[in-house]
C-alpha cells in the first residue's frame, strides 16, 4: 500500500538526516573528546541561513553551501573562548550557546519570522515534476548519498594522521601537547567540521519538512543525537548510522501502539510524546550504567569511561 511505503520512506529519510547530524557529533566527541551539548544550534544556523538565502534568490546549491560554511564558521564563536574549559563547563556553555541561538531566532522576527516559522521556500527537485511519492523517493536517495559521502570523508579523515592527533587529544591532551602538537588548532577544526556536518543535516531537515521554526531546534534534538551516538558506540561511525536507523525504526514501530494501544487507554498525544522522551531519558541512564560503549564501541575504546 502506498501509504505504508510512504511511511517507511519517511522513517529512512529521517533516520538518515539524523545520522548525518550525529556523525558530526561523533567527530567532535567520539573522536576528539569534545563535549558538545549545543550541536543543534549549528543545524539551526545552517537551516535558516540557507532557507533565507534561497528565498532571497540564491540558487539552491549556493544557499546550502553558504549555510554549511556559516555553521562551521559559527562554531568558532563558541570554540575560540570555550574549548579550554573542563568537561562540565563546556557542556553548560554549549547548551547556553544553543539556547541563545534559538532565542535569537525566535525573537528576531523581521529576519526569521520568529515562532511562526517559514513555510514556503525552494526545495530540491521542484522543477522535476515528480509525484509526491516520487519526490520523497528522490529526496531519500539524496539524503542517503549525502550520508554516504559524509561517512566516507570521515572514515578517510579519522584514519589519517589528522585523525590520529584527534584521538590522542581525546586520550590525553597534555601528553599530545608535550609531543609538539598544536592541539588547539586540531580541536577547532574538529569542532568546525562537525558543526558544518550538523549544518548539512539541518538543511536536509528543512527540505524534508518544507517548514522550519525555532521549535525544531530544541536541546532535545541534541540529546536525541547523543542517545543515538551512545547507543551506536561513541567513536564508531558505523554505529552512528545503525543506531539512528534502530532508534527511528523502533520509534516508528511504536506508532501503531500509540494509535491503537496507548491512545485507546485515554492518553493524549502530549502524554504519549512525554512518555517517549521519558523513555529516552531512562534509556540514556541504563546505557550509561550497563553498556556505556554502546553497540559497536569496543571495551578497550570505551569513550565514556574517563
Amino acid at each position: 500500500m502506498s501509504s505504508s511505503l510512504l511511511y517507511v520512506i519517511n522513517v529512512v529519510t529521517t533516520a538518515t538526516v539524523y545520522a548525518i547530524f550525529v556523525l558530526g557529533l561523533n567527530l567532535q566527541f567520539g573522536f576528539t573528546g569534545i563535549l558538545n551539548f549545543g550541536h543543534v544550534a549549528f543545524m539551526a544556523i545552517a537551516a535558516y541561513a540557507s532557507v533565507l538565502l534561497s528565498l532571497a534568490g540564491w540558487p539552491l546549491i549556493a544557499a546550502a553551501a553558504a549555510g554549511i560554511l556559516l555553521a562551521g564558521a559559527a562554531s568558532l564563536l563558541i570554540g575560540l573562548p570555550a574549548l579550554r574549559l573542563r568537561e562540565d563547563y563546556l557542556a553548560i556553555t554549549t547548551i547556553g550557546f544553543a539556547e541563545t541561538v534559538r532565542i535569537i531566532i525566535n525573537n528576531e522576527v523581521e529576519l526569521t519570522r520568529g515562532p511562526q516559522g517559514i513555510f514556503r521556500f525552494p526545495i530540491p527537485f521542484e522543477s522535476w515534476g515528480l509525484t509526491p511519492l516520487g519526490w520523497r523517493v528522490a529526496f531519500m536517495i539524496l539524503c542517503l548519498v549525502a550520508m554516504l559521502a559524509v561517512y566516507l570523508i570521515l572514515q578517510r579523515l579519522t584514519r589519517s594522521p589528522w585523525g590520529r592527533v584527534l584521538k590522542a587529544i581525546r586520550e590525553d591532551e597534555d601528553a599530545a601537547i608535550a609531543l609538539g602538537k598544536n592541539t588547539r588548532v586540531f580541536k577547532l577544526w574538529s569542532l568546525a567540521l562537525g558543526s558544518a556536518i550538523a549544518g548539512l543535516a539541518g538543511i536536509l531537515l528543512a527540505y524534508l519538512l518544507s517548514y522550519i521554526n525555532p521549535r525544531e531546534f530544541l536541546p532535545l534534538t541534541t540529546f536525541t543525537g547523543w542517545m543515538i551516538m551512545v547507543l551506536g558506540g561513541a567513536g564508531s561511525n558505523l554505529g552512528v548510522m545503525v543506531g539512528s536507523l534502530l532508534y527511528f525504526g523502533l520509534f516508528s514501530l511504536t506508532r501503531p501502539l500509540e494509535s491503537s494501544g496507548l491512545l485507546a487507554l485515554g492518553l493524549t498525544g502530549q502524554q504519549v510524546g512525554a512518555l517517549r522522551i521519558f523513555l529516552i531519558g531512562v534509556f540514556l541512564v541504563v546505557l550509561m550504567m550497563y553498556r556505556p560503549q554502546g553497540l559497536f564501541g569496543r571495551k578497550e575504546e570505551l569513550s565514556l569511561d574517563r
Binding site: 570523508i153 578517510r156 579523515l157 589519517s160 594522521p161 589528522w162 585523525g163 590520529r164 592527533v165 584521538k167 590522542a168 581525546r170 586520550e171 590525553d172 597534555d174 601528553a175 599530545a176 601537547i177 608535550a178 609531543l179 609538539g180 602538537k181 598544536n182 592541539t183 577544526w189 567540521l193 578497550e300 575504546e301 570505551l302
Partner: protein, 256 residues
C-alpha cells in the same frame, strides 16, 4: 673543548599565589651532557622541570634553547624545537596501539593537515610507510616490537616507560628531559634504561633527569644540579656534589 650550550636557564623563578617554588635558578646544559637534578622533596625540581618544558610559564627569568628564547612560546612549541619531556607516570595513549603511539609522535607529518589528509591520500600513505619503518626500527631497539599491535593500555608499567622513551625519541629530540625515569621500576629494567640513556647520548641526545635514586644519578650523570627550597644550591660533578656540605645539609635537614 667546550661543547655548545643547548639549554640555557637564566634566573628563572616561579611562584604560586605568593609561594616561591623556584627562585633565581640559573644553569646551562651543554650538548651531549647527561645532567641530573636532585634534591629533597618539595625542593622545586618538578616545578622547574615544568617551567623549562613550557608546561608552566616562569614568573621571572628566561629560558633559551639552542639559541632561541622559548619561555615566551606556547607549550607545544618546546617539543617542536627539540626539547622533549617524559612524565613521571607514563602518559601513553592507552586506547591507541603501541605503533599508533609511535606514529603520532613523528614531527612534520603532511597528513596532519586537514586538506592533505582528505585530498592527497597517496602522499600521506607514502610518508606513513616511511614513518612506520622508522617506528618499527625504534620499537625493535627498545624491544617492544612484539607489542606493536597491542593497545598501549595493555602494557605493563615497565613497558610503558620504554614506550614513552621510544615515542620521545621518535620526535628526533635534541634534548630529553626525563621526569623520574627510574620511579617504581624493577632493578633489571633500571639497568636497561641506563643503557638506553647512555646509548642515546652516544647518538647525540642531551639529557636532563630528575631522580631520587641517588645511586643511579651518580653512575650515569656527568654533572649534577642540586635544588633545595626552590634554589640551586650546588652544581658540579658527582664527586664534588657528594662532598658538598650544603648538599649534605639539605638532605639531612629535610629528613630531620
Amino acid at each position: 673543548m667546550t661543547a655548545d650550550v643547548l639549554l640555557d636557564v637564566r634566573d628563572v623563578s616561579r611562584q604560586f599565589d605568593g609561594f616561591w617554588a623556584v627562585r633565581g635558578v640559573s644553569f646551562s646544559v651543554p650538548e651531549n651532557q647527561i645532567a641530573g637534578l636532585i634534591g629533597p622533596n618539595g625542593a622545586g625540581k618538578t616545578t622547574l622541570f615544568n617551567v623549562v618544558t613550557r608546561y608552566l610559564a616562569p614568573s621571572g627569568g628566561q629560558i633559551h634553547f639552542a639559541g632561541t628564547r622559548i619561555d615566551t612560546l606556547p607549550t607545544y612549541a618546546a617539543a617542536r624545537h627539540g626539547l622533549v619531556r617524559t612524565f613521571q607516570i607514563s602518559r601513553v595513549f592507552s586506547r591507541m596501539t603501541v605503533l599508533e603511539n609511535m606514529l603520532f609522535a613523528a614531527p612534520g607529518q603532511v597528513g596532519e593537515g586537514l586538506l592533505p589528509a582528505l585530498l592527497a591520500p597517496r602522499r600521506v600513505a607514502r610518508q606513513e610507510a616511511e614513518l612506520r619503518a622508522r617506528a618499527e626500527e625504534l620499537l625493535r631497539y627498545f624491544r617492544l616490537d612484539h607489542m606493536a599491535g597491542a593497545y598501549a593500555g595493555a602494557l605493563s608499567g615497565g613497558q610503558r616507560k620504554l614506550l614513552e622513551m621510544a615515542r620521545a625519541v621518535m620526535l628526533k629530540p635534541r634534548m630529553l628531559l626525563l621526569d623520574e625515569p627510574m620511579a617504581g621500576v624493577n632493578p633489571a629494567l633500571k639497568e636497561q634504561l641506563l643503557t638506553y640513556i647512555l646509548d642515546l647520548r652516544a647518538q647525540g641526545i642531551t639529557f636532563l633527569l630528575i631522580e631520587h635514586d641517588i645511586d643511579m644519578i651518580m653512575r650515569i650523570c656527568d654533572r649534577i644540579l642540586v635544588m633545595a627550597q626552590g634554589e640551586l644550591i650546588a652544581d658540579g660533578t658527582p664527586e664534588q656534589v657528594r662532598q658538598d656540605p650544603r648538599v649534605i645539609d639539605a638532605y639531612l635537614g629535610a629528613s630531620a
